[in-house]
Amino acid sequence: MTNIETNNHNIVYDVEGLNLWYGDDQALKNINMQIEKNEVTAIIGPSGCGKSTFIKTLNRMIENIPIVRTSGEIRYHGKNIFDKSMRVEELRTMVGMVFQKPNPFPKSIFENVVYGPRIHGIKDKKILMEITESSLRSAALWDEVKDRLHDNAYGLSGGQQQRLCIARCLAVQPDVILMDEPTSALDPIATSKIEELIDRLKEDYTISIVTHSMQQAARISDKTAFFLMGELIEFDNTKVIFSNPRDQRTEDYITGRFG
Protein backbone atom coordinates (compact mmCIF):
# COMPACT_ATOMS: atom_id res chain seq x y z
CA MET A 1 0.00 0.00 0.00
CA THR A 2 1.19 3.45 -0.81
CA ASN A 3 1.28 6.17 1.70
CA ILE A 4 1.56 9.55 0.18
CA GLU A 5 2.02 11.88 3.09
CA THR A 6 1.87 15.55 2.43
CA ASN A 7 4.72 16.32 4.79
CA ASN A 8 6.17 19.67 5.61
CA HIS A 9 9.19 19.16 3.50
CA ASN A 10 9.33 21.85 0.86
CA ILE A 11 10.19 19.68 -2.09
CA VAL A 12 7.10 18.30 -3.81
CA TYR A 13 8.68 16.75 -6.88
CA ASP A 14 12.23 15.53 -7.11
CA VAL A 15 13.07 14.42 -10.63
CA GLU A 16 16.27 12.45 -11.00
CA GLY A 17 17.82 11.13 -14.20
CA LEU A 18 14.51 10.96 -16.06
CA ASN A 19 14.66 9.57 -19.59
CA LEU A 20 11.66 8.92 -21.80
CA TRP A 21 11.31 7.24 -25.18
CA TYR A 22 8.50 7.07 -27.70
CA GLY A 23 9.43 3.77 -29.27
CA ASP A 24 13.01 4.43 -30.36
CA ASP A 25 12.86 8.22 -30.19
CA GLN A 26 14.15 9.69 -26.99
CA ALA A 27 11.94 12.60 -25.95
CA LEU A 28 13.41 13.41 -22.54
CA LYS A 29 17.10 13.17 -21.75
CA ASN A 30 18.39 12.89 -18.22
CA ILE A 31 16.13 15.47 -16.57
CA ASN A 32 17.00 16.55 -13.05
CA MET A 33 14.91 19.16 -11.28
CA GLN A 34 12.97 19.90 -8.15
CA ILE A 35 9.58 21.48 -7.81
CA GLU A 36 8.89 23.27 -4.58
CA LYS A 37 5.74 23.69 -2.59
CA ASN A 38 3.42 26.63 -3.30
CA GLU A 39 5.47 27.81 -6.20
CA VAL A 40 4.52 28.28 -9.79
CA THR A 41 6.98 26.54 -12.05
CA ALA A 42 6.81 27.52 -15.70
CA ILE A 43 8.11 25.16 -18.33
CA ILE A 44 9.07 26.84 -21.57
CA GLY A 45 10.72 25.85 -24.81
CA PRO A 46 10.07 25.56 -28.54
CA SER A 47 7.45 23.08 -29.87
CA GLY A 48 8.60 19.51 -29.70
CA CYS A 49 11.12 20.19 -26.95
CA GLY A 50 9.47 17.74 -24.58
CA LYS A 51 7.83 20.22 -22.22
CA SER A 52 4.36 18.72 -22.65
CA THR A 53 5.77 15.21 -22.39
CA PHE A 54 7.52 16.16 -19.18
CA ILE A 55 4.46 17.57 -17.45
CA LYS A 56 2.37 14.56 -18.49
CA THR A 57 4.99 12.30 -16.97
CA LEU A 58 4.51 13.95 -13.57
CA ASN A 59 1.04 12.36 -13.20
CA ARG A 60 1.88 9.42 -15.49
CA MET A 61 -0.73 10.48 -18.06
CA ILE A 62 1.97 9.86 -20.64
CA GLU A 63 1.54 6.12 -20.05
CA ASN A 64 -1.73 6.23 -21.98
CA ILE A 65 0.48 6.13 -25.05
CA PRO A 66 1.41 2.46 -25.20
CA ILE A 67 4.86 2.82 -26.80
CA VAL A 68 6.25 5.03 -24.02
CA ARG A 69 9.16 3.77 -21.90
CA THR A 70 10.82 5.62 -19.03
CA SER A 71 13.87 5.31 -16.84
CA GLY A 72 15.03 7.28 -13.83
CA GLU A 73 12.99 8.42 -10.88
CA ILE A 74 10.38 11.00 -10.11
CA ARG A 75 9.92 11.23 -6.37
CA TYR A 76 6.68 12.79 -5.26
CA HIS A 77 7.06 13.68 -1.58
CA GLY A 78 9.89 11.22 -1.46
CA LYS A 79 8.04 8.35 -3.11
CA ASN A 80 8.97 7.18 -6.60
CA ILE A 81 5.87 7.48 -8.78
CA PHE A 82 7.04 4.66 -11.04
CA ASP A 83 7.13 2.30 -8.07
CA LYS A 84 4.89 -0.76 -8.38
CA SER A 85 3.15 0.04 -5.11
CA MET A 86 2.21 3.50 -6.37
CA ARG A 87 -1.38 3.56 -7.48
CA VAL A 88 -1.78 5.80 -10.43
CA GLU A 89 -5.39 6.60 -9.45
CA GLU A 90 -4.20 7.96 -6.13
CA LEU A 91 -1.37 9.92 -7.69
CA ARG A 92 -3.79 11.58 -10.11
CA THR A 93 -6.14 12.72 -7.38
CA MET A 94 -3.18 14.31 -5.65
CA VAL A 95 -1.86 15.77 -8.87
CA GLY A 96 -4.60 17.37 -10.94
CA MET A 97 -4.27 18.36 -14.56
CA VAL A 98 -5.67 21.09 -16.77
CA PHE A 99 -5.35 20.63 -20.51
CA GLN A 100 -4.59 22.77 -23.52
CA LYS A 101 -8.13 22.73 -24.84
CA PRO A 102 -10.92 23.09 -22.28
CA ASN A 103 -12.34 19.58 -21.95
CA PRO A 104 -15.40 19.57 -19.73
CA PHE A 105 -17.63 16.52 -19.95
CA PRO A 106 -20.86 16.96 -21.91
CA LYS A 107 -22.75 17.02 -18.63
CA SER A 108 -24.05 19.75 -16.36
CA ILE A 109 -21.69 22.15 -14.61
CA PHE A 110 -22.49 20.46 -11.31
CA GLU A 111 -21.83 16.96 -12.71
CA ASN A 112 -18.51 18.14 -14.07
CA VAL A 113 -17.30 19.46 -10.74
CA VAL A 114 -18.39 16.43 -8.72
CA TYR A 115 -17.04 13.90 -11.24
CA GLY A 116 -13.84 13.33 -9.27
CA PRO A 117 -15.35 13.14 -5.77
CA ARG A 118 -18.12 10.89 -7.08
CA ILE A 119 -15.94 8.31 -8.77
CA HIS A 120 -13.87 8.18 -5.61
CA GLY A 121 -16.84 7.26 -3.51
CA ILE A 122 -18.31 10.51 -2.17
CA LYS A 123 -22.06 10.16 -2.62
CA ASP A 124 -23.61 12.50 -0.04
CA LYS A 125 -25.53 15.16 -1.97
CA LYS A 126 -24.92 17.81 0.65
CA ILE A 127 -21.18 17.30 0.69
CA LEU A 128 -21.10 17.25 -3.13
CA MET A 129 -22.95 20.55 -3.18
CA GLU A 130 -20.47 22.06 -0.74
CA ILE A 131 -17.59 20.78 -2.83
CA THR A 132 -19.15 22.32 -5.92
CA GLU A 133 -19.55 25.71 -4.33
CA SER A 134 -16.08 25.86 -2.81
CA SER A 135 -14.39 24.55 -5.96
CA LEU A 136 -16.24 26.97 -8.22
CA ARG A 137 -15.46 29.82 -5.83
CA SER A 138 -11.78 28.90 -5.83
CA ALA A 139 -11.85 28.81 -9.63
CA ALA A 140 -13.50 32.27 -9.69
CA LEU A 141 -16.50 30.89 -11.54
CA TRP A 142 -19.16 30.63 -8.82
CA ASP A 143 -20.77 34.02 -9.34
CA GLU A 144 -21.08 33.45 -13.07
CA VAL A 145 -22.70 30.02 -12.90
CA LYS A 146 -24.39 29.68 -9.52
CA ASP A 147 -27.84 30.09 -11.07
CA ARG A 148 -27.32 27.52 -13.78
CA LEU A 149 -25.41 24.70 -12.14
CA HIS A 150 -27.54 22.14 -13.95
CA ASP A 151 -27.03 23.57 -17.43
CA ASN A 152 -24.72 21.82 -19.84
CA ALA A 153 -21.09 22.83 -19.51
CA TYR A 154 -20.81 23.33 -23.25
CA GLY A 155 -23.05 26.39 -22.94
CA LEU A 156 -20.17 28.22 -21.23
CA SER A 157 -17.60 30.36 -23.02
CA GLY A 158 -14.12 28.95 -23.65
CA GLY A 159 -12.60 30.82 -20.72
CA GLN A 160 -15.41 29.74 -18.41
CA GLN A 161 -15.01 26.16 -19.58
CA GLN A 162 -11.33 26.24 -18.73
CA ARG A 163 -12.06 27.65 -15.27
CA LEU A 164 -14.66 24.89 -14.87
CA CYS A 165 -11.93 22.38 -15.69
CA ILE A 166 -9.79 23.96 -12.99
CA ALA A 167 -12.72 23.75 -10.56
CA ARG A 168 -13.21 20.09 -11.49
CA CYS A 169 -9.58 19.54 -10.73
CA LEU A 170 -9.83 21.38 -7.37
CA ALA A 171 -12.84 19.33 -6.31
CA VAL A 172 -10.72 16.37 -5.25
CA GLN A 173 -8.49 18.75 -3.29
CA PRO A 174 -5.23 18.00 -4.98
CA ASP A 175 -1.80 19.00 -3.83
CA VAL A 176 -0.34 19.87 -7.24
CA ILE A 177 -1.99 21.25 -10.36
CA LEU A 178 -0.34 20.58 -13.69
CA MET A 179 -1.35 22.90 -16.52
CA ASP A 180 -0.53 22.09 -20.11
CA GLU A 181 -0.73 25.38 -22.04
CA PRO A 182 -4.05 26.17 -20.36
CA THR A 183 -4.58 29.49 -22.13
CA SER A 184 -3.44 28.66 -25.65
CA ALA A 185 -7.04 28.22 -26.86
CA LEU A 186 -8.34 31.34 -25.11
CA ASP A 187 -8.67 35.01 -25.94
CA PRO A 188 -6.57 37.65 -24.08
CA ILE A 189 -9.29 38.57 -21.57
CA ALA A 190 -9.99 34.96 -20.66
CA THR A 191 -6.23 34.40 -20.48
CA SER A 192 -5.69 37.21 -18.00
CA LYS A 193 -8.50 35.83 -15.83
CA ILE A 194 -6.81 32.43 -15.74
CA GLU A 195 -3.49 34.10 -14.92
CA GLU A 196 -5.06 35.99 -12.01
CA LEU A 197 -6.54 32.74 -10.84
CA ILE A 198 -3.18 30.97 -10.95
CA ASP A 199 -1.73 33.76 -8.85
CA ARG A 200 -4.36 33.18 -6.19
CA LEU A 201 -4.24 29.39 -6.37
CA LYS A 202 -0.55 29.22 -5.59
CA GLU A 203 -1.27 30.11 -1.99
CA ASP A 204 -2.84 26.69 -1.54
CA TYR A 205 -1.41 24.62 -4.35
CA THR A 206 1.82 23.83 -6.12
CA ILE A 207 1.47 24.64 -9.80
CA SER A 208 3.43 23.56 -12.83
CA ILE A 209 2.53 25.24 -16.07
CA VAL A 210 3.68 24.56 -19.59
CA THR A 211 3.44 27.68 -21.70
CA HIS A 212 4.48 28.73 -25.15
CA SER A 213 4.29 32.36 -24.13
CA MET A 214 7.41 33.72 -22.46
CA GLN A 215 5.53 36.79 -21.29
CA GLN A 216 3.12 34.52 -19.48
CA ALA A 217 5.97 32.62 -17.85
CA ALA A 218 7.57 35.88 -16.77
CA ARG A 219 4.29 37.24 -15.42
CA ILE A 220 3.09 34.33 -13.33
CA SER A 221 5.92 32.00 -12.42
CA ASP A 222 8.43 31.86 -9.59
CA LYS A 223 10.73 29.40 -11.28
CA THR A 224 11.25 28.72 -14.96
CA ALA A 225 12.59 25.62 -16.67
CA PHE A 226 13.82 25.89 -20.24
CA PHE A 227 13.62 22.73 -22.30
CA LEU A 228 15.29 22.18 -25.66
CA MET A 229 15.24 18.99 -27.70
CA GLY A 230 14.41 16.84 -24.71
CA GLU A 231 16.99 18.35 -22.43
CA LEU A 232 16.55 20.64 -19.46
CA ILE A 233 18.90 23.45 -20.44
CA GLU A 234 18.36 25.77 -17.54
CA PHE A 235 16.21 25.88 -14.42
CA ASP A 236 16.27 28.84 -12.13
CA ASN A 237 14.30 31.67 -10.61
CA THR A 238 12.18 33.26 -13.30
CA LYS A 239 13.86 36.62 -12.73
CA VAL A 240 17.27 35.14 -13.33
CA ILE A 241 16.19 33.24 -16.46
CA PHE A 242 14.71 36.36 -18.03
CA SER A 243 17.33 38.85 -16.94
CA ASN A 244 20.57 36.97 -16.70
CA PRO A 245 20.46 33.48 -18.18
CA ARG A 246 23.56 31.37 -17.83
CA ASP A 247 23.17 29.41 -21.03
CA GLN A 248 23.54 31.00 -24.45
CA ARG A 249 20.68 28.89 -25.83
CA THR A 250 18.31 30.15 -23.13
CA GLU A 251 19.22 33.67 -24.00
CA ASP A 252 18.70 33.01 -27.71
CA TYR A 253 15.28 31.60 -27.00
CA ILE A 254 13.99 34.29 -24.66
CA THR A 255 15.27 37.04 -26.89
CA GLY A 256 13.36 35.47 -29.73
CA ARG A 257 16.26 34.35 -31.86
CA PHE A 258 14.61 30.97 -32.43
CA GLY A 259 11.49 29.04 -31.54
Partner: protein, 315 residues
Protein backbone atom coordinates in the same frame (compact mmCIF):
# COMPACT_ATOMS: atom_id res chain seq x y z
CA UNK B 1 -16.03 41.71 -78.98
CA UNK B 2 -12.75 39.88 -79.13
CA UNK B 3 -12.41 36.93 -81.40
CA UNK B 4 -11.40 33.93 -79.39
CA UNK B 5 -9.39 32.55 -82.25
CA UNK B 6 -6.81 35.29 -81.89
CA UNK B 7 -6.01 34.34 -78.32
CA UNK B 8 -4.43 31.16 -79.54
CA UNK B 9 -2.11 33.00 -81.91
CA UNK B 10 -0.21 35.06 -79.41
CA UNK B 11 3.51 35.10 -79.81
CA UNK B 12 5.58 34.24 -76.79
CA UNK B 13 9.11 35.55 -76.44
CA UNK B 14 11.21 33.42 -74.20
CA UNK B 15 14.76 34.57 -73.78
CA UNK B 16 17.40 32.43 -72.17
CA UNK B 17 20.95 33.52 -71.41
CA UNK B 18 21.12 36.16 -74.02
CA UNK B 19 20.25 33.81 -76.83
CA UNK B 20 17.08 35.15 -78.32
CA UNK B 21 14.66 32.38 -79.11
CA UNK B 22 11.25 33.03 -80.46
CA UNK B 23 8.70 30.30 -79.99
CA UNK B 24 5.45 30.71 -81.73
CA UNK B 25 2.52 28.68 -80.50
CA UNK B 26 -0.46 28.49 -82.68
CA UNK B 27 -3.47 27.07 -80.92
CA UNK B 28 -6.41 26.73 -83.16
CA UNK B 29 -9.61 26.68 -81.21
CA UNK B 30 -12.11 24.31 -82.75
CA UNK B 31 -15.53 25.64 -81.88
CA UNK B 32 -17.29 22.61 -83.25
CA UNK B 33 -15.27 20.36 -81.02
CA UNK B 34 -15.97 22.46 -77.92
CA UNK B 35 -19.64 22.52 -78.67
CA UNK B 36 -19.60 18.78 -79.14
CA UNK B 37 -17.87 18.30 -75.80
CA UNK B 38 -20.33 20.55 -74.01
CA UNK B 39 -23.26 18.81 -75.66
CA UNK B 40 -21.90 15.41 -74.68
CA UNK B 41 -21.46 16.68 -71.15
CA UNK B 42 -25.04 17.88 -70.99
CA UNK B 43 -26.44 14.68 -72.46
CA UNK B 44 -24.47 12.56 -70.04
CA UNK B 45 -25.65 14.70 -67.16
CA UNK B 46 -29.22 13.90 -68.12
CA UNK B 47 -28.44 10.19 -68.52
CA UNK B 48 -26.68 10.04 -65.15
CA UNK B 49 -29.44 11.89 -63.38
CA UNK B 50 -32.02 9.60 -64.98
CA UNK B 51 -30.08 6.60 -63.66
CA UNK B 52 -30.31 8.04 -60.18
CA UNK B 53 -33.97 8.80 -60.60
CA UNK B 54 -34.55 5.29 -62.00
CA UNK B 55 -34.09 3.86 -58.52
CA UNK B 56 -36.63 6.35 -57.18
CA UNK B 57 -39.15 5.52 -59.88
CA UNK B 58 -38.88 1.84 -59.07
CA UNK B 59 -39.35 2.62 -55.40
CA UNK B 60 -42.42 4.67 -56.22
CA UNK B 61 -43.91 1.93 -58.42
CA UNK B 62 -43.19 -0.68 -55.76
CA UNK B 63 -44.90 1.32 -53.04
CA UNK B 64 -47.83 2.22 -55.30
CA UNK B 65 -48.39 -1.38 -56.43
CA UNK B 66 -48.27 -2.74 -52.93
CA UNK B 67 -50.54 0.01 -51.70
CA UNK B 68 -53.10 -0.75 -54.41
CA UNK B 69 -52.98 -4.48 -53.80
CA UNK B 70 -53.42 -4.12 -50.08
CA UNK B 71 -56.27 -1.64 -50.40
CA UNK B 72 -59.40 -2.95 -48.74
CA UNK B 73 -57.52 -5.79 -47.05
CA UNK B 74 -55.57 -3.83 -44.53
CA UNK B 75 -57.91 -3.00 -41.68
CA UNK B 76 -58.20 -3.41 -37.96
CA UNK B 77 -59.57 -6.93 -38.32
CA UNK B 78 -56.52 -7.93 -40.34
CA UNK B 79 -54.24 -6.85 -37.52
CA UNK B 80 -56.15 -8.53 -34.71
CA UNK B 81 -57.33 -11.78 -36.30
CA UNK B 82 -55.32 -14.90 -36.49
CA UNK B 83 -54.37 -16.90 -39.58
CA UNK B 84 -57.00 -18.74 -41.50
CA UNK B 85 -57.13 -20.76 -44.69
CA UNK B 86 -59.91 -18.47 -45.85
CA UNK B 87 -58.37 -15.26 -47.14
CA UNK B 88 -61.30 -13.09 -46.02
CA UNK B 89 -60.92 -14.21 -42.43
CA UNK B 90 -57.14 -14.26 -42.22
CA UNK B 91 -55.24 -11.83 -40.02
CA UNK B 92 -51.65 -11.42 -38.95
CA UNK B 93 -52.03 -11.14 -35.19
CA UNK B 94 -49.94 -14.28 -34.66
CA UNK B 95 -47.21 -13.04 -36.99
CA UNK B 96 -47.06 -9.71 -35.17
CA UNK B 97 -46.72 -11.49 -31.84
CA UNK B 98 -44.03 -13.72 -33.38
CA UNK B 99 -42.06 -10.74 -34.66
CA UNK B 100 -42.35 -8.97 -31.30
CA UNK B 101 -41.15 -12.18 -29.61
CA UNK B 102 -38.14 -12.35 -31.92
CA UNK B 103 -37.25 -8.77 -31.06
CA UNK B 104 -37.47 -9.52 -27.36
CA UNK B 105 -34.64 -11.99 -27.90
CA UNK B 106 -32.64 -10.03 -30.45
CA UNK B 107 -32.57 -6.69 -28.60
CA UNK B 108 -30.93 -7.80 -25.33
CA UNK B 109 -28.66 -10.40 -26.95
CA UNK B 110 -27.25 -8.12 -29.64
CA UNK B 111 -27.00 -5.09 -27.37
CA UNK B 112 -24.98 -6.93 -24.72
CA UNK B 113 -22.81 -8.86 -27.16
CA UNK B 114 -22.43 -6.07 -29.69
CA UNK B 115 -21.67 -3.20 -27.35
CA UNK B 116 -19.33 -5.32 -25.24
CA UNK B 117 -17.43 -6.42 -28.33
CA UNK B 118 -17.19 -2.84 -29.55
CA UNK B 119 -15.93 -1.68 -26.15
CA UNK B 120 -13.34 -4.42 -26.16
CA UNK B 121 -12.11 -3.57 -29.64
CA UNK B 122 -12.01 0.19 -29.15
CA UNK B 123 -11.08 0.63 -25.50
CA UNK B 124 -9.32 -2.47 -24.27
CA UNK B 125 -7.66 -4.36 -27.11
CA UNK B 126 -4.12 -3.30 -27.84
CA UNK B 127 -3.48 -2.72 -31.51
CA UNK B 128 -2.25 -6.19 -32.19
CA UNK B 129 -2.99 -9.41 -33.95
CA UNK B 130 -5.92 -10.34 -31.74
CA UNK B 131 -7.72 -7.08 -32.47
CA UNK B 132 -7.03 -7.33 -36.19
CA UNK B 133 -8.23 -10.93 -36.21
CA UNK B 134 -11.51 -10.10 -34.49
CA UNK B 135 -12.04 -7.10 -36.75
CA UNK B 136 -11.55 -9.10 -39.96
CA UNK B 137 -13.79 -11.74 -38.50
CA UNK B 138 -16.62 -9.31 -37.87
CA UNK B 139 -16.40 -7.71 -41.28
CA UNK B 140 -16.44 -11.14 -42.92
CA UNK B 141 -19.34 -12.22 -40.78
CA UNK B 142 -21.27 -9.19 -42.01
CA UNK B 143 -20.94 -10.41 -45.58
CA UNK B 144 -21.98 -14.02 -44.96
CA UNK B 145 -25.33 -14.63 -46.69
CA UNK B 146 -28.24 -14.76 -44.26
CA UNK B 147 -29.24 -18.20 -45.47
CA UNK B 148 -25.95 -19.55 -44.07
CA UNK B 149 -26.89 -18.18 -40.65
CA UNK B 150 -30.07 -20.17 -41.11
CA UNK B 151 -28.00 -23.33 -41.55
CA UNK B 152 -25.98 -22.47 -38.45
CA UNK B 153 -29.15 -21.89 -36.45
CA UNK B 154 -30.68 -25.10 -37.77
CA UNK B 155 -27.66 -27.15 -36.77
CA UNK B 156 -26.73 -25.54 -33.48
CA UNK B 157 -29.90 -24.06 -31.99
CA UNK B 158 -32.63 -26.23 -33.51
CA UNK B 159 -30.93 -29.60 -33.54
CA UNK B 160 -28.00 -29.60 -31.10
CA UNK B 161 -29.63 -27.51 -28.39
CA UNK B 162 -33.01 -28.97 -29.31
CA UNK B 163 -34.80 -25.64 -29.53
CA UNK B 164 -36.67 -26.69 -32.68
CA UNK B 165 -38.25 -23.85 -34.60
CA UNK B 166 -39.10 -21.88 -31.49
CA UNK B 167 -38.96 -18.13 -31.03
CA UNK B 168 -35.79 -18.65 -29.00
CA UNK B 169 -34.04 -20.53 -31.84
CA UNK B 170 -35.15 -17.91 -34.36
CA UNK B 171 -34.19 -15.03 -32.09
CA UNK B 172 -30.71 -16.38 -31.40
CA UNK B 173 -30.12 -17.03 -35.09
CA UNK B 174 -31.23 -13.50 -35.94
CA UNK B 175 -29.04 -12.10 -33.17
CA UNK B 176 -25.92 -13.65 -34.66
CA UNK B 177 -26.97 -12.37 -38.08
CA UNK B 178 -27.24 -8.71 -37.06
CA UNK B 179 -24.49 -8.78 -34.45
CA UNK B 180 -21.83 -7.44 -36.88
CA UNK B 181 -24.02 -4.41 -37.65
CA UNK B 182 -24.36 -3.58 -33.96
CA UNK B 183 -20.65 -4.12 -33.36
CA UNK B 184 -19.51 -1.94 -36.25
CA UNK B 185 -21.94 0.90 -35.53
CA UNK B 186 -21.10 0.81 -31.82
CA UNK B 187 -17.42 0.92 -32.71
CA UNK B 188 -18.03 3.99 -34.84
CA UNK B 189 -19.95 5.64 -32.02
CA UNK B 190 -17.21 4.89 -29.48
CA UNK B 191 -14.50 6.06 -31.88
CA UNK B 192 -16.36 9.35 -32.29
CA UNK B 193 -16.02 10.13 -28.56
CA UNK B 194 -13.23 12.71 -28.47
CA UNK B 195 -10.10 11.55 -26.75
CA UNK B 196 -9.82 14.67 -24.61
CA UNK B 197 -12.82 13.47 -22.62
CA UNK B 198 -11.08 10.21 -21.79
CA UNK B 199 -7.96 12.17 -20.83
CA UNK B 200 -10.00 14.41 -18.55
CA UNK B 201 -11.38 11.35 -16.80
CA UNK B 202 -8.04 9.58 -16.42
CA UNK B 203 -6.49 12.76 -15.09
CA UNK B 204 -9.11 12.73 -12.32
CA UNK B 205 -7.78 9.35 -11.23
CA UNK B 206 -10.54 7.33 -12.90
CA UNK B 207 -9.68 3.82 -14.03
CA UNK B 208 -10.56 2.47 -17.45
CA UNK B 209 -13.92 0.92 -16.59
CA UNK B 210 -15.09 4.05 -14.78
CA UNK B 211 -14.05 6.13 -17.76
CA UNK B 212 -15.88 3.85 -20.18
CA UNK B 213 -19.00 3.72 -18.03
CA UNK B 214 -19.22 7.36 -17.00
CA UNK B 215 -17.74 9.21 -19.95
CA UNK B 216 -17.43 7.13 -23.13
CA UNK B 217 -20.73 5.25 -23.09
CA UNK B 218 -22.99 8.21 -22.21
CA UNK B 219 -21.55 10.14 -25.15
CA UNK B 220 -21.63 7.14 -27.50
CA UNK B 221 -25.15 5.98 -26.65
CA UNK B 222 -27.05 7.94 -29.33
CA UNK B 223 -24.79 6.46 -32.00
CA UNK B 224 -25.10 2.99 -30.53
CA UNK B 225 -28.87 3.34 -30.46
CA UNK B 226 -29.03 4.51 -34.06
CA UNK B 227 -26.99 1.53 -35.21
CA UNK B 228 -28.97 -0.88 -33.08
CA UNK B 229 -32.27 0.32 -34.46
CA UNK B 230 -30.97 -0.17 -37.99
CA UNK B 231 -29.76 -3.65 -37.07
CA UNK B 232 -33.12 -4.41 -35.56
CA UNK B 233 -34.95 -3.30 -38.66
CA UNK B 234 -32.74 -5.66 -40.64
CA UNK B 235 -33.72 -8.47 -38.27
CA UNK B 236 -37.42 -7.67 -38.59
CA UNK B 237 -37.30 -7.95 -42.38
CA UNK B 238 -35.06 -11.01 -42.69
CA UNK B 239 -36.78 -14.10 -44.02
CA UNK B 240 -34.27 -16.66 -45.23
CA UNK B 241 -32.79 -17.76 -41.87
CA UNK B 242 -36.25 -18.31 -40.43
CA UNK B 243 -37.37 -20.31 -43.45
CA UNK B 244 -34.27 -22.47 -43.13
CA UNK B 245 -35.04 -23.08 -39.46
CA UNK B 246 -38.16 -24.79 -40.73
CA UNK B 247 -40.94 -22.55 -39.47
CA UNK B 248 -44.17 -24.45 -40.20
CA UNK B 249 -46.35 -23.10 -42.99
CA UNK B 250 -49.53 -22.60 -41.10
CA UNK B 251 -49.56 -21.80 -37.43
CA UNK B 252 -52.96 -21.18 -35.99
CA UNK B 253 -51.87 -20.97 -32.40
CA UNK B 254 -50.58 -17.70 -30.95
CA UNK B 255 -47.16 -18.28 -29.31
CA UNK B 256 -47.26 -17.90 -25.53
CA UNK B 257 -43.66 -18.48 -24.53
CA UNK B 258 -40.34 -18.16 -26.31
CA UNK B 259 -40.24 -21.95 -26.61
CA UNK B 260 -43.34 -22.04 -28.81
CA UNK B 261 -43.38 -22.37 -32.57
CA UNK B 262 -44.16 -19.12 -34.29
CA UNK B 263 -44.57 -17.27 -37.52
CA UNK B 264 -43.33 -13.76 -38.25
CA UNK B 265 -44.31 -10.99 -40.65
CA UNK B 266 -41.76 -11.75 -43.41
CA UNK B 267 -42.46 -15.50 -43.17
CA UNK B 268 -46.14 -14.80 -43.64
CA UNK B 269 -45.42 -12.68 -46.70
CA UNK B 270 -43.31 -15.52 -48.10
CA UNK B 271 -45.90 -18.24 -47.67
CA UNK B 272 -48.74 -16.10 -48.95
CA UNK B 273 -46.71 -15.12 -52.00
CA UNK B 274 -45.92 -18.76 -52.75
CA UNK B 275 -49.57 -19.69 -52.36
CA UNK B 276 -50.92 -17.09 -54.79
CA UNK B 277 -50.78 -19.92 -57.32
CA UNK B 278 -53.56 -21.61 -55.36
CA UNK B 279 -55.59 -18.64 -54.21
CA UNK B 280 -55.19 -15.30 -55.97
CA UNK B 281 -56.37 -13.32 -52.92
CA UNK B 282 -53.29 -14.38 -51.02
CA UNK B 283 -51.39 -11.77 -53.03
CA UNK B 284 -53.56 -9.11 -51.38
CA UNK B 285 -52.85 -10.56 -47.97
CA UNK B 286 -49.12 -10.56 -48.72
CA UNK B 287 -49.32 -6.95 -49.91
CA UNK B 288 -51.23 -5.92 -46.80
CA UNK B 289 -48.62 -7.60 -44.61
CA UNK B 290 -45.86 -5.84 -46.55
CA UNK B 291 -47.52 -2.50 -45.83
CA UNK B 292 -47.51 -3.32 -42.12
CA UNK B 293 -43.86 -4.43 -42.27
CA UNK B 294 -42.77 -1.35 -44.20
CA UNK B 295 -44.64 0.94 -41.82
CA UNK B 296 -42.89 -0.64 -38.84
CA UNK B 297 -39.53 -0.25 -40.58
CA UNK B 298 -40.33 3.32 -41.57
CA UNK B 299 -41.18 4.26 -38.00
CA UNK B 300 -38.01 2.62 -36.69
CA UNK B 301 -35.80 4.30 -39.26
CA UNK B 302 -37.35 7.70 -38.64
CA UNK B 303 -36.65 7.18 -34.99
CA UNK B 304 -33.03 6.37 -35.77
CA UNK B 305 -32.71 9.47 -37.94
CA UNK B 306 -34.24 11.67 -35.23
CA UNK B 307 -31.75 10.36 -32.68
CA UNK B 308 -28.87 10.80 -35.11
CA UNK B 309 -29.80 14.38 -35.96
CA UNK B 310 -30.48 15.36 -32.39
CA UNK B 311 -27.13 14.26 -31.07
CA UNK B 312 -24.92 15.02 -34.06
CA UNK B 313 -21.90 17.28 -33.70
CA UNK B 314 -21.86 18.19 -30.08
CA UNK B 315 -18.20 19.02 -29.86
Amino acid sequence: MMDFNTIGQKTFNLSTKGVKKVNTYKIKIDHDRINRRIKLNNISKVVFSLSTVFALIVLAILLYRIGVQSYGWLNFKFLTKNLSIFPEKAGIYGAIIGTVGLMLIVIPVTLVLGVATAIYLEEYATRGKMQAFIKINISNLASVPSVIFGLLGLTVFSRMLNLGSSILAGGLTMSLLVLPIVVVSSQEAIKAVPNFLREASYAMGANKWTTVRKVVLPVAIPGILTGSILALSRAIGETAPLVVLGIPTLILRIPKTIMDDFTALPIQIYYWTLDTVLTAEYANLAAATIVVLLLVLFIMNSFAIVIRNKFQKRF
